[in-house]
Symmetry: C2
Amino acid sequence: MAKLARSVFSVDVSGLDTALGRPAHTRIADRIRAAIISGALTLNARLPSGRILAKDLRVARNTVDAALGQLVADGYVIRRRGAGSFVAGRLPMRDLRPRVPKRATMSKIRNADPVLSQRAQALKLYPGHYRPISTLPFAPSLPPVDLFPRKVWNRLLSREATRTGSDYWEYGASNGLAVLREAIAAHSAAMRATHCSPEQVIVVTSTQQAVELAGKVLADPGDSAWAEMPGYQPVQHCLRAAGLRVIQVPVDQEGLDVRAGRILGPFARLAYVTPAHQYPLGYEMSLKRRKALFEWAQEQKAYIVEDDYDGDYRYEGRPIASLQGMDQNGCVIYVGSFNKILFPALRIAYAIVPVPLIGAFVDAKHVADGHTALLTQGVLAAFINEGHLARHLRDTRAFYDERRLAFLEEAETLADLLDFGPASAGMHVTGIFKDRIRRADDRSVATECARSSVMVDPLSKYGDIARRGLVFGFAGASRAISRSGLQVVRRAIVAVNS
Amino acid sequence: MAKLARSVFSVDVSGLDTALGRPAHTRIADRIRAAIISGALTLNARLPSGRILAKDLRVARNTVDAALGQLVADGYVIRRRGAGSFVAGRLPMRDLRPRVPKRATMSKIRNADPVLSQRAQALKLYPGHYRPISTLPFAPSLPPVDLFPRKVWNRLLSREATRTGSDYWEYGASNGLAVLREAIAAHSAAMRATHCSPEQVIVVTSTQQAVELAGKVLADPGDSAWAEMPGYQPVQHCLRAAGLRVIQVPVDQEGLDVRAGRILGPFARLAYVTPAHQYPLGYEMSLKRRKALFEWAQEQKAYIVEDDYDGDYRYEGRPIASLQGMDQNGCVIYVGSFNKILFPALRIAYAIVPVPLIGAFVDAKHVADGHTALLTQGVLAAFINEGHLARHLRDTRAFYDERRLAFLEEAETLADLLDFGPASAGMHVTGIFKDRIRRADDRSVATECARSSVMVDPLSKYGDIARRGLVFGFAGASRAISRSGLQVVRRAIVAVNS
């Protein structure tokens, strides 16, 4: 019990704390209260006697009595004559939630503006911390969560969690569980024509982490990186967070304009691209451009970061080759993620890196966060190896395809306003404003739509300075919802443009 | 089935791929083989007819037949007369594991030395990717894994995983689940006298991630940071990975020597310290030094990163106050981790940050990896709130204390060689070489010990240039093992010093 008292009630009554001017008995009462609220002391538990507490905490008996008196008065502790003191059987109502210091106490502020690094200040421009789930049309890129076979997943979870041995409990390798790396190498070879050994797979938590690792491994602060304009802004922030200067390279119907990149930033250390399905315009990078990109990388000894964010969803035409599979020179870092195709809370993605870079990526991942959580890796490996991933992809592909076709049919009613880009893959389609409304403010259109609970992303949000338009996610909307949603969009465009 | 063929067999037979000079039939055979090995095509599954495959893949019937012929010859596919082609019922022996390209094919190397960033090259100095689990004496800081109540954890895991609703499946907030942040705020207040609201808690994956986020938020590349010498090297690598210059500030029996820090790097943006139990020397930072550190931070508008890596394990004397709880000016970032006290594969740690920095930390965490996996956060919150964490800490504390006492008794046999530092907390103790052997090479001693399966860390590994000695983890060794292990150490010291 003495040890318990010292630990659970660990109250600093030395000079360190009295220096702060709070009386010892208040401090002791606060700590015991916190232990009760946190569950460290269970309800109805018997407390050590005042004498023992005083001895263990090396304070006067009076001090302990004052602390206990305060707790009794507040309803946390009950005294039973002859039996001692006990934690109350139920907590005072106001403290069912942990106690939060009042704003005034809590805001220990040195000055109103904290001293932030420049890069932290730059991150304030980040478009949003996270996208709260929305079933509204046309919130981009959110898979309907009820398509995921939770029961299957949970069965594998239980099975793996109860395995004997310590593989899921001890430190793991920074590049990920071998069984998962093998499954990923086979899966991405089968689905995306990548060409790699399991050793080249680095398991990470997210596309963002993969891109940030690539930024760190391949470039130093002050170096520059190509990114697509318009393009996926969060990834550009990752590159900036790694200290890189991001050069916006325009995208046209053939994908990233390599010639423009050579003019804007010939000595960039890496190029971030979405060749299979440009985000957000939807174009596939042409063979000519792929060759030009490889040539530039070869010349500059630069690297290509290929984000294959929705390569598993292709509905029409021939499959699109991955750059990784075409790469002859070991200059492509391929990035894939399971967070979108399975469920966002999963937090498992991967990079496939050229052999000579394996060590550097493992080092960087190790320093970043040690390794990715292991049990989940084991469950995902089983999910892939036992065929559930392939089945889930088949099911969701069919489902999205149906919604895609419905959306495209309904979207013909907007053909006088928007030029829709390719929609043969993925879960979104972009409509560019036609010439006669090309100056309309797409952000205002989006705001106007939001008033009627229709979510469209303005193309401006993706950093485009040449075009304006709207990005529609079609995976979340039934035909009827698509129809009414598109009517809202039409009214919004007309209202903003008039 | 057509869709299946396009997707599962997705074979690029366009110019993109034939440009690489591999015949289409080989490519098709490779992809089908990969689909079989990966489980995307299940054993005994019926394949589409050659005619349908040819149509879907837009290749000649001959090409498909050649591919299937190859697969039949290799044993992956079986032809049943009149019934069609089927995946074999069992895979050829050599391919029970995914196919790995041969080294020569796999090493697409542009040049023998890849172009790495300077910071990636610096990481090559990293002392090791991960510490494979070892039950050998005296591997530092590894809790005996069998003390962890796996059954309790797994029960909570099952319960939380099968909860209805989507909280554990959708995107989550970047700062972590509210219920976990509340539990952490209460726990750290109760155990470590921190003083914060749940809003100030940022859930991360590891101490490393917390320190790297702090480095990014508080400093720009080229800025400098204080770290302890000797000190925990992996964290110093985190700071370097964030672009910071690390200034080694000497540690003495009062902790970090603030005056030396002011001379070596007066304008550092942050100071990384382990005030409760200096790693690895074991000293507690004195009140005088704490005040000096606060004064410096106040003057420079710098921040203090407090790594409280084993604050939950204190065996003797009064509890040590956290700097966070003493902080009057909002200049402390407190870092705690559950990976060591529960199990290393968990990957949940946290930072408690001053109110004005909350937004910047959330931004940085969002960009780094979105958010930490959610289900595990929910399980941990339940584990804390239902009293299991407090119980586990009590159990392990008693266990470690027993081992600590046994180790210290046995270690008296080395009192002529080593000056042991404080051992009133944590899971390790450091022995400094006594004067007469102070020049002995501690790395050689460690190597010599390793030959007899005794693991000690040389103090040199922690970057000390003034002292030599050995770091012992005592949590993994019984009394008998401690005794024989210490005999090995004695012999090694004598051998190296003679």
